[in-house]
């Protein structure tokens, strides 16, 4: 059932992306990886995912701009989980104002992320 569920991950940390891909594919999700905000926007427009995971700080287009694009231009109600680092509290608030669904502070537990994804995709 989960096989049809597509998740777009936007994060410039290649090894974290690989780790999450391994974990999520094991759980039956299909993960599409973008290494910057521009790629993320293209992937979202082309694939219409069921969920978006995005880091805030990314090259070219930030996570905040990705959220804004999804909510305002594409008018999608897809759940968006934001990854933030310490000291980005203001940005997390901005992300929520733009329409983010949830956030996780780095460093985070991959297992906790899986639980949140499952809950949001129920």
């Amino acid at each position: 059932m989960n096989l049809s569920k597509k998740i777009v991950l936007a994060d410039d940390n290649s090894i974290l992306a690989k780790l999450l891909q391994f974990k999520l594919e094991k759980e039956g999700y299909q993960l599409l990886i973008a290494t910057n905000g521009k790629e993320a926007v293209n992937l979202i427009e082309d694939n219409r995912p069921d969920m978006i995971l995005t880091d805030i700080m990314m090259p070219f287009i930030s996570g905040l701009e990705v959220i804004s694009h999804v909510r305002n231009k594409l008018e999608m109600k897809t759940p968006i989980v934001v990854f933030s680092a310490a000291g980005q509290e203001e940005m997390v608030l901005s992300a929520f104002n733009l329409g983010a669904t949830d956030f996780m502070s780095k460093p985070f537990s991959p297992n906790e992320l899986i639980i949140r994804i499952k809950r949001l995709l129920q």
Partner: protein, 367 residues
Amino acid sequence: MLELLQNSVEALNNSHPIIQFCAYLSLLFIVIIITLLVYLKNLRDRLRIKGRIEATYKKKYESELIEYLYADDDKDSRLQQQKIVDYFKKNAENRLKRKLIIATFLKLKNEISGETSDAIQNLYYQTGLINSATSKLKSKKWDAVARAIRELTLFEIKEAHDEIILLINHPKKEVRNEIQKYLVKLFRFDGLKFLDILENPLSEWDQIQLLEILNKFNNLEVPDMNNWMRSNNTSVLSFTLKLARIYNQFGVSDEIIALFNHPNVDIRIEAINVVTHLGIHEAVAILKEDYFTRSLEEQIAFFKMMEEMAMPDDIPFIREHIEHDNFFIRISVMKTLNLITVDDDNTFKVNTTATDFTIDKDFTIAS
């Protein structure tokens, strides 16, 4: 062609010495420029090759690390995991590869927590990278020592504590700074025991960094600060006073009061400020007793304290200073009197003998 060259050399030999000198100088510059161009091209090629090698190995190490982390719990998988450990161990013998392996481990460790993070730390032990870092602690190069301590901090290697603490009075401040961060990040308040043996100054920046690290931890039991309050190191005293203030350490109030007689005026002022913050009322009488022997800065700090802690009994003493030469003291006196004599109608009276301040018209025009 050869004839042209011969003619040119001949013409140069017959020319004026200044022209000859300029020609040789130009020739020299051309040779230098060509040599530099060849060197830069070579350097660029080498950097590109190095970059390509790094990218290839980085990719390989990332895949190996993910495979190690998510191997199943059967015999085959355990064998595969051991193979990966051996692969990393072999690669770690090379300096560049070791650097890449550590960077790969940290790149993931900094982003995740929980059992995956612990598994990376475990791999750090298994691959023997810990031995390479601890052996660098004995290096004569200070930058190698500082890097090793930073690496041990990032991988949270508590076992290196005994070796690292021996370097706490290292002549290089960069090394000392890394040691302090290692101790506080890994051992929290217990790590501050280095203050007992620190001989060098703890800079303001170091103090801010340590307080910021401690600020991230909640519900910590603050250690006994009595020893640090008696330290001969002024910077340790300054830092301890900051700790006492931030963590509201009423238990060390006697030690703070004792610092009113410290030889360093900055410490005495800081002690008065901390006493004000903590609201230790017995300090007022002590400071009042030898008020006139104190420096102006201390007197200002004392009156700042009185703004918060003055009692009706102190009014006569405070009133004596209402016409003090120092502006800050006069302001503090007025604020204090205003606060504690709020019901007294005669506290302030209009001074009818005061000079009439009129605007100097010429001055206004000129300006």
